[in-house]
């Protein structure tokens, strides 16, 4: 399973390194969301700083769906998905590889947007370790749920619409926990141990569940 995962991950990373489609799309989109927030809400008022973590994750939730949509659309278009499902490998390995690739794309997007975000919203990161953990756990949560639903939505006529419709409501707990932990990292709240725990629980539950059900999604 792990070997399959590494092969799939390496394949997706190589495609991304050559095209830079997923990360650049997510990047431009998150910057756009931040700019639009600025016009819609006049974010430079001091009280807005407390809400900064929320703006950040909203931008990611939507930018994430963009790059997640591509994840399986790519396989469908070239017929590679059929080849993958015919290959005598563990479907869980395919899921793990794709999910890891998506988690990396999300994390890279976050790291690039972070400095812009700090500049635009005038926030300061007071707990760097908390921010790193929040980003890592949040990316895993979005990647696990998003990869599963992206694989499901890729089977439909309305892929672009169905991915967010399925993915966003289910990831509500992860989204709340991600916002709260980031908020803690920015020094807006005093403790966030519950939210870190919830994110870990969400990650464990959804990674496990996705690994178990992915064989049904992958069959043709």
């Amino acid at each position: 399973m792990l070997r399959t995962a590494v092969v799939v991950l390496w394949k997706d990373l190589r495609i991304e390194l050559r095209t830079r489609d997923a990360v650049s799309a997510a990047l431009v989109f998150s910057i756009l969301v931040l700019v639009i927030f600025n016009f819609a809400l006049d974010v430079n008022r001091p009280e807005m700083r407390r809400l900064a973590a929320g703006f950040f994750w909203v931008a990611f939730a939507f930018a994430g769906t963009l790059s997640l949509n591509r994840s399986f659309a790519l396989e469908k278009e070239s017929g590679a998905g059929r080849a993958l499902s015919l290959a005598p490998v563990d479907p869980a390995g395919i899921f793990l590889g794709k999910a890891l690739a998506n988690a990396i794309f999300l994390a890279v997007t976050q790291l690039v947007v972070l400095p812009l975000f700090v500049i635009f919203f005038d926030v300061s990161v007071t707990r760097l370790w908390a921010l790193a953990v929040s980003f890592a756990l949040g990316s895993i949560a979005f990647a696990a749920t998003g990869t599963l639903f992206s694989a499901i939505a890729a089977n439909t006529r309305m892929r672009e619409l169905l991915l967010p419709v399925l993915f966003l409501p289910v990831s509500v707990p992860a989204l709340i926990a991600a916002v709260e932990t980031t908020s803690f990292a920015l020094g807006n709240t005093e403790s966030a141990s519950f939210w870190f725990t919830l994110l870990v629980v969400y990650d464990v539950v959804f990674v496990t569940a996705s690994l178990l059900v992915f064989e049904y999604v992958a069959e043709e």
């Binding site: 289910v170 919830l198 569940a209 049904y216």
Partner: protein, 234 residues
């Protein structure tokens, strides 16, 4: 046999509904503070409980479908999801009608309200997904995966929203609905729960029957098509 039990069920439903609404309007006392609008609670609460029952059936049936691949479990999941979404929609409509005069606002992001809304979104997504997959087997399998993962998410959503709410200021302070219920109110509520559970079962059975007929019609059409092809060849 099925027809006979269906008729008995319909008769029981009719009687129970008549009794429930009779009790709501003529037996249950008018609540001292909220007034007449409180009576919506007798419809709202049973609808909510049955909606959750429906989503539980979706989870169980989806799980069974993945294990057995028997189309009947898929039909059950679909029927329960549709009735569940219908009931949740009614819950989300009756809630604000009650909340506006009592709390002074239509909506608040309180734990139960938010959970209901998120559940509604998850199962509307489930039903939308089904519409856009052509192959019946693929549709059943993928929907079952969503039916299972969506339900696993419910406790996580619940804890997240609960904790998130307690950290933020509560816009309204209302006593628990169960606190100090007049015995006549409690009796009315239980009769209403029984009536709406019967309504759920009746709708669910009808939806299931439609689905079975649709499957049969499809099979007949396929047979006729095959026979026609056979005739054209000879």
């Amino acid at each position: 046999m099925a027809r006979r039990s269906g008729m008995i069920l319909d008769a029981a439903l009719l009687i129970a509904m008549a009794a429930a609404f009779g009790m709501i309007f003529f037996y249950a006392p008018i609540e001292s503070e909220m007034g007449i609008v409180q009576k919506i609670f007798y419809v709202h609460v049973p609808l909510a409980w049955n909606a959750f029952l429906g989503f539980g059936i979706v989870f169980f049936s989806s799980f069974r479908y993945l294990a057995t691949r028997d189309p009947k479990w898929d039909m059950r999941a679909l029927s329960a999801a549709e009735v569940g979404v219908l009931f949740t929609t009614l819950v989300l409509i009756t809630g604000p009608i009650w909340a506006k005069p009592v709390w002074g606002i239509w909506w608040t992001w309180d734990a139960r309200l938010t959970l209901t809304l998120v559940l509604w979104l998850i199962y509307v997504g489930y039903l939308m997904l089904r519409r856009y997959i052509e192959s019946p087997e693929r549709r059943a399998v993928l929907a079952a995966v969503v039916g299972v993962t969506g339900f696993i998410d419910v406790p996580l959503v619940y804890f997240a929203i609960r904790w998130w709410r307690t950290q933020h200021p509560q816009p309204v302070i209302a006593g628990g609905e169960g606190s100090g219920l007049d015995p006549r109110m409690a009796t009315t509520l239980w009769i209403c729960v029984a009536a709406f559970t019967l309504l759920f079962v009746a709708l669910y059975r009808r939806r299931l029957a439609i689905e079975a007929m649709r499957a049969r019609a499809e099979a007949l059409r396929d047979d006729a098509e095959a026979a026609r092809m056979e005739g054209a060849r000879s």
